[in-house]
């Protein structure tokens, strides 16, 4: 029987690094979800309302991203772009770009389904009071769509936050990277990984319950 003696002091000593790592991971996820949502809305509207030829590139983009491992995309953007003389992105920016493109593909599908599920009756009511086409989108269709897609938003934010662990592969000091480093330096294997896991778990749980409350508050159609 192997005995393992826990020594949590190594975690407390590195609390500030964990805190920074957690903040960094969350920022990466939130920023990428934001940029991904902008991409997603643009692509979804191009597919639903745009010209026919527009739906091809969108389809290609979505399918390419959804059927390629994220880690591969991370490497491709980080190592590949400089080969094409696109080298003005540092590693964090490169990762944000990758995660945004990744989120964008998923959000495209979320918003496309959201747009499709909005009853025609709302658009007709918006027409009837004289709103112009872009006003109908701005004041009726999009607000309703956001409320419908709020649950998908929460799920994607949690997924993206967990996916930020892949940034460790290009040495961005987020949680997984920090845990690995502390593990390597102190040989406190269990403590490092358990601490990181606990932080992921608690954070995801908190995000989920906070957004659940938001969903209940803003649910549009009940």
């Amino acid at each position: 029987m192997i005995q393992y003696y826990f020594d949590w002091s190594v975690i407390w000593r590195n609390a500030d690094r964990f805190a920074y790592a957690l903040g960094l991971g969350l920022s990466l996820a939130v920023i990428s979800l934001f940029i991904g949502s902008v991409i997603g809305i643009a692509c979804a509207m191009a597919r639903v309302y745009g010209a026919r030829w527009l739906s091809w590139p969108v389809w290609l983009y979505v399918e390419f991203i959804r059927n390629t491992p994220l880690l591969l995309l991370v490497f491709f953007v980080y190592f590949g772009l400089p080969e094409l003389d696109i080298s003005y992105l540092d590693k964090t920016q490169s990762f944000i770009l990758t995660l945004s493109l990744y989120a964008g593909a998923y959000m495209t599908e979320v918003f496309r389904a959201g747009l499709a599920s909005i009853p025609k009756s709302y658009t007709e009511a918006a027409k009837a009071i004289g709103l112009r086409p872009w006003q109908r989108q701005r004041y009726v269709v999009l607000p309703v769509m956001f409320r419908i897609t709020l649950p998908a938003f929460s799920n994607n934010l949690i997924s993206l936050f967990k996916d930020t662990s892949l940034a460790a592969a290009i040495a961005i000091p987020e949680l997984t990277f920090v845990a690995r480093q502390i593990n390597a330096n102190t040989f406190r294997v269990m403590e490092s990984w358990l601490a990181a896991s606990a932080l992921y778990l608690v954070t995801c749980y908190v995000i989920a319950s906070a957004l659940r409350r938001l969903e209940r508050r803003y649910a549009a159609i009940r």
Partner: protein
């Protein structure tokens, strides 16, 4: 009735695929009149109403509001569709109330009314709120201004929808079977609001199966049959002296539901 003609339809045609739903409708609505369209389902009543507000585009004939053709302009003898902005401006002059209320689900009762006032008519928020409050009071819902549609009963939602349409001060109000989706005990409150509007001089074109209401409130009743006007006139004449067998049998079926109409 010497008032000017507000809405004039001449030879309005509309097909969905191979099915011709409107086969040349002629109809006048004068300023301040209440005109009701009656007829069996499939006779084209709702389609005609939707053409007036450009929710459907008519294929032939013309619909004039205050003398302006709806949805297009003539250019060298040809019909040219108006820009979306112009179409929107035309729609703003016509209010519409729908069978399923169609309130915006993310806005309160007040917000539903304010949206058009601020974004279409360009009123400030404070003025729009006052107007919304005024109309909510007129439809008996002053204390519900902050409620969302899902918090309101069907009858209340429909009254908000009416307030939303009237608040825009349209030249003409369209009502598309506005009580058909309501529980029977909620019909009266909505009809009551419509009756008050009619008495206030609002020009109204309505599609309804509420024959007693149609008889009491209308200046003219138009019976549509198979996409054509089969008989039109004052309610006394249409209900009291139905010319065609189709109208007699239609009214006969309605008697079963509403009791003696004429």
């Amino acid at each position: 009735m010497g008032e000017e003609v507000l809405l004039r339809a001449r030879g309005v045609r509309k097909s969905f695929g191979n099915v011709e739903v409107l086969k040349g409708i002629d109809l006048d609505v004068r300023q301040g009149q209440v005109v009701s369209l009656i007829g069996a389902s499939g006779s084209g009543k709702t389609t005609f109403l939707r053409c007036v507000n450009l929710l459907e585009e008519h294929d032939g004939g013309e619909i004039l509001l205050d003398g302006d053709p709806i949805g297009y302009r003539m250019e060298g003898g040809k019909r040219r569709r108006l820009s979306e902005a112009k179409v929107s401006a035309q729609r703003a002059r016509i209010g519409m109330v729908f069978q399923q209320f169609n309130l915006f689900p993310h806005l309160t009762a007040e917000g539903n009314i304010m949206l058009g006032l601020t974004k279409v008519l360009g009123k400030g928020a404070a003025e729009a709120r006052d107007i919304a409050g005024h109309w909510l009071e007129r439809v008996g819902l002053a204390e519900r201004r902050g409620y969302y549609p899902y918090q309101l009963s069907g009858g209340q939602q429909q009254r908000v929808a009416i307030a939303r349409a009237v608040a825009m001060q349209p030249r003409l109000l369209l009502f598309d079977e506005v009580t058909s989706a309501l529980d029977p005990e909620l019909v009266a409150e909505v009809l009551g609001v419509m009756q008050k509007l009619a008495e206030s001089g609002m020009t109204m074109l309505l599609v309804s199966h509420e024959m007693l209401f149609v008889r009491d409130v209308s200046d003219r009743v138009v019976f549509l049959d198979g996409g054509q006007v089969a008989q039109a006139g004052p309610p006394k004449e249409v209900f009291g002296n139905p010319e065609s067998e189709r109208l007699r049998s239609f009214l006969g079926r309605m008697h079963g539901i509403f009791g003696q109409i004429a």
